[in-house]
């Protein structure tokens, strides 16, 4: 081999090494569904969901410690919480009333009692401050003085005779979930048999490594506490991190298992077919080069790579190994192979056409308005083109000068060549194959059902799901994933919108549309609303005198009270701000409601007992930047749109592919022979899955794109060999090797317990198998004149 032919190898090795370092240093994998959503209102909502997915809310874990009795549960939970609070991966632990919360609440709300007198001040306060209202209030005060809270009321009444502060505290208490109570300083469940701990992790819920450390630390801390307690305690917990980690571990385990088996299988297959380890190593070159360049391009253009892009793109780049296999088979089987380069050049037009059609199929995706699909198209295009160029420039220098003939290959090639001739002689029999495929398609088409529910892509451990239900039911009443969010440019703007949302949600509760809701409004109102409430006490100059008369009439000693205008009319510290709350010991109470969205602030209201979310959405429809979200339905809708758009783009891509193929062959029948097998293989595959009762999801679609790409290549390789019967056998051998390697790599995923991997694996395996069957049949049926 001339020294000149090594130049591309050396240059490529340097470039690829540099790019590999670049990828390693810069690699960031995203998982935001927002990348697959169009711009506009939906995108804003999806940004909100993304922020929520990383927010304090999603980083919060709930742990319950069950014991034989309340005392044991409390003691165990306290010790457990104490240990967890020292863990460096845990940001905060809450298992009781935070220190200082009681005095902080008093110090913040008592001086502002008139600011929080009513959140409908214009409707409620005029009556409250009328003579009749004052009489009613003083009667209530009298009863309260003699009631269980009498001593407290006596202390507060001189400066708060309308008991506004206690009413505010009652409002706060009513807003708290009654599923939990405090006992001996520890949160316990209503049955008293479980202590409860809330904790926030420093890392986001999707960061596998730190979350694995957190779960390990929790387990270790509990084991120690439980040992001390004599083994009578039971820990149950829930959190996004647990589900995510379990899913990741399950997928990793599946992929590792499949990788080992498929690697061994492919090595054995290559050794069997080529009798040399050299081809195994060479086959990896286009794959590795394609993946490195695709990742580098993705990172360079987009800054990070989406997880779905990696899955989809890597699958497509996998066709790169087919180019190498096709080349290896032709080089080792064909008798006239003078040298590696000449042999490659003979099949080069077919390889180029295969790669071009693959890239063309992605053109539609690149034009899509979804940024994620554009990224997929760019990633895959770069990967496939690199794999093709690597096959052309990097493999020949490493090929043996005189390939050792392999008997199995030669026998198989001869056998398949004869079979091809036999098929050409009995075209009617061959016709049965596509007819059979079409019948299956006709039967299966009505049963095809697309499922866009994200949960269909995730295998949730039933034990984990049941534990989640148990823990959630012990501690809260809100419906998971259903909420209203208001977005404002700052806290004050968001609070103002939140005031209005709460007013309407109260009407919804009254109308029976929801059972309950929890909002930051329980803790704070907008400054404007607070001021309006306060100002109602300063408007009427007769109020102090009327109030004093009311005191006399009700049997009170007026001199024991401060004048009403001093108690409620003084400016005081002014409206309470969200920032003040966040800087106070009450921060834990407000934390779950506030999410920062870039430069904006969102306030989240959780909903409980929702009858029909659409009625809530209708109530809030005219409010700007107010979102009624059902996380599951939203993602389902988003995935549905991705699926629909991808299907449309595949259709566009197929038209482009046909035009390119036709440009090469110029004859419709030949063009169809190169085009139809993959289409029929895909349709038949989906129909078979439907007939077996499988519902189809996004990962089946990824499999479809793979099969279309590979299937088109297979058919093109066959059509390219149409005038060389001696090569047809070798081509068919290469197709079988390619198909087997696909089955070994992706087909094994079909046995995965993970629905996403299983969907991809089954579609890829069955689709490539059918492509290999339909490709020669199409040539036999569609070429103009059979060749003997």
């Amino acid at each position: 081999m001339a020294l000149r032919s090594w130049v591309p190898v050396i240059v490529s090795a340097i470039v690829l090494t540099a790019l590999a370092f670049y990828v390693q240093a810069k690699l960031v994998v995203r998982s935001d569904i927002t990348d697959f959503l169009p711009e506009g209102q939906d995108r804003r909502a999806s940004q909100l969901l993304r922020e929520l997915a990383e927010s304090e809310l999603a980083r919060t874990m709930i742990l319950t410690v069950g014991g034989p009795n309340t005392g044991a549960a409390i003691q165990g939970t306290k010790a457990f919480g104490e240990q967890l609070s020292h863990d460096p991966d845990i940001a905060w632990v809450r298992s009781g009333a935070p220190e200082g919360i009681q005095n902080a609440a008093h110090d913040m709300y008592f001086p502002r009692r008139s600011y929080f007198a009513s959140d409908r001040p214009e409707e409620e306060l005029p009556h409250r401050l009328s003579d009749e209202g004052i009489r009613e209030s003083l009667q209530a005060l009298k009863l309260a003085l003699g009631g269980p809270l009498g001593p407290l009321v006596r202390a507060l009444a001189p400066r708060d005779p309308l008991l506004l502060f206690l009413a505010g505290i009652d409002r706060l208490r009513a807003a708290q979930d009654d599923s939990l109570r405090l006992e001996d300083g520890q949160l316990v469940t209503a049955d008293g048999l479980h202590g409860v701990i809330f904790l926030g992790t420093r890392a986001g819920p999707f960061e596998a490594e730190p979350q694995a450390r957190v779960l390990k630390a929790i387990s270790a801390a509990f084991d120690g506490v439980n040992r001390e307690a004599g083994g009578v305690l039971r820990l149950e917990s829930t959190g996004v991190n647990r589900f995510n980690l379990a899913a990741q571990q399950s997928i990793s385990a599946d992929i590792q298992r499949v990788s080992v088996v498929s690697t061994v299988g492919i090595v054995v297959l290559f050794l069997l077919v080529f009798r040399s380890i050299r081809y195994v190593a060479l086959g990896l070159i286009p794959l590795v080069a394609g993946t490195i360049c695709a990742m580098a391009a993705g990172l360079g253009l987009f800054g990070s790579i989406h997880g779905l892009t990696l899955v989809f793109g890597s699958s497509l780049i996998g066709v790169g190994i087919d180019y190498a296999e096709h080349y290896f088979v032709h080089y080792t089987v064909s008798r006239d192979s003078a040298d590696p380069v000449t042999s490659l050049l003979r099949i080069w037009p077919g390889l180029v056409l295969g790669a071009v059609t693959t890239v063309a199929g992605l053109v539609g995706l690149a034009w899509a308005s979804f940024p994620g699909l554009r990224e997929m198209a760019v990633f895959s295009t770069v990967g496939v083109v690199t794999a093709l160029l690597s096959t052309r420039w990097l493999l020949p220098p490493f090929m043996p000068r005189k390939p050792k003939p392999v008997r199995l290959q030669q026998k198989l090639s001869a056998l398949l060549g004869r079979a091809m001739l036999a098929m050409m002689r009995s075209r009617r029999t061959v016709l049965l194959l596509p007819v059979f495929g079409l019948i299956v398609c006709a039967l299966g088409a009505p049963r095809v059902r697309w499922v866009d529910d994200v949960s269909a892509l995730i295998a949730v451990d039933p034990a984990l799901a049941a534990e989640d239900v148990r823990v959630q039911s012990r501690v809260q009443r809100a419906d998971p994933g259903r909420f209203v969010a208001v977005v404002g440019r700052d806290d004050e703007a968001a609070l103002a919108k939140n005031d209005e949302v709460v007013r309407r949600l109260r009407a919804a509760v009254k109308a029976g549309e929801i059972e309950t809701f929890h909002s930051a409004h329980d803790l704070i109102w907008s400054a404007d609303l607070q001021r309006r409430s306060h100002e109602m006490f300063t408007r009427d100059p007769t109020l102090p005198a009327r109030f004093e008369a009311g005191l006399m009439a009700a049997g009170f000693v007026p001199s024991a009270f401060r004048p009403l205008d001093e108690s409620y009319g003084a400016e005081g510290p002014g409206p309470l701000t969200l920032e003040e709350l966040r800087q106070s010991p009450l921060v834990d109470l407000v934390r779950p409601f506030r999410v920062v969205l870039g430069h904006d602030v969102a306030l989240v209201t959780t909903l409980g007992g929702v009858r029909d979310l659409r009625t809530i959405a209708a109530r809030l429809a005219d409010l700007d930047d107010v979102f009624v979200l059902d996380q599951r339905a939203f993602l389902q809708d988003a995935y549905g749109r991705i699926r629909t758009r991808t299907l449309e783009m595949i259709a566009v891509g197929l038209v482009v592919v046909f035009l390119i193929v036709h440009l090469r062959y110029r004859r419709v029948r030949l063009s169809l022979a190169a085009f139809l097998p993959a289409v029929l293989a895909v349709a038949t595959t989906l129909a078979v899955l439907a007939l077996f009762g499988s519902s189809l999801n996004l990962m089946h679609l990824v499999g479809v794109l793979m099969v279309l790409s590979m299937g088109a290549d297979y058919a093109i390789f066959v059509v390219e060999s149409r005038d060389h019967p001696e090569e047809l056998g070798a081509t068919l051998v290469s197709l079988i090797v390619a198909m087997l390697s696909t089955v070994l790599s992706f087909g094994l995923l079909g046995m995965s317990a993970n629905p996403a991997l299983s969907a991809l694996g089954i579609t890829a395996a069955l689709g490539t198998l059918l492509s290999v069957v339909f490709a020669p049949a199409a040539l036999v049926l569609l070429r103009e004149a059979p060749t003997e």
Binding site: P148, P158, G555
Partner: protein, 224 residues
Amino acid sequence: MSRLAASGLIALALGVAGPARARQDAGAEASSPRNIATLDGLLARFRAIPGLYARYREEKHIALLAEPIVSEGTIHFAPPRKMARHARTPSPSHIVLDAETLRFSDGTTTQQIDVGANPVVRALAESFLDVLAGDRAGLERSFFVDFHAGSGERAPSWKLALVPKTPALLSVLTEIDFEGDGLVVSKMRIREASGDEGVTTFSDVDVAHRYSSEDAARTFRVDP
């Protein structure tokens, strides 16, 4: 809230501290002068009672009001640490202290306080339980205890004064005085730091009252 909790317990104290007159069938030994001439003797007898039921009448003298507030109802105690006060007039209200949880209702809403979460509240709650449970050490943890026994053949009189030890408790409460005859507390006076005062007298007291499990479930429960 701490102040809230403290106030609830004072109210509870007004109701549950003692019975006015023991039933005639209270055992002679229980009220023997030899046994209750000392604080330890009195507390030992309290430790032996199977339960307590009494009616009460409370007068609260409050600086804010020209006239005192009068309330009436019943009190209940079941060992080891359950107490309840159910007010009938001037408006229905209920207070129940069970172990470390105080629940109370004013007839419309029910609230709950974790007694263990606040030292002041805990001291108040446990002091009254300690009297009825006969726990001197518990009493002396938070109060200076002053006991004087008087004379009487079958039911000698006595006085017990509890003065808070800590400034925190003193900021709420000045003193609790009990007066009793034999096993029976006839009067209880609570002086609050604000100057207000509550005087409670007891009647129809049964210091041998046994609560069946059904009775206990009904009595030591707070409904709105």
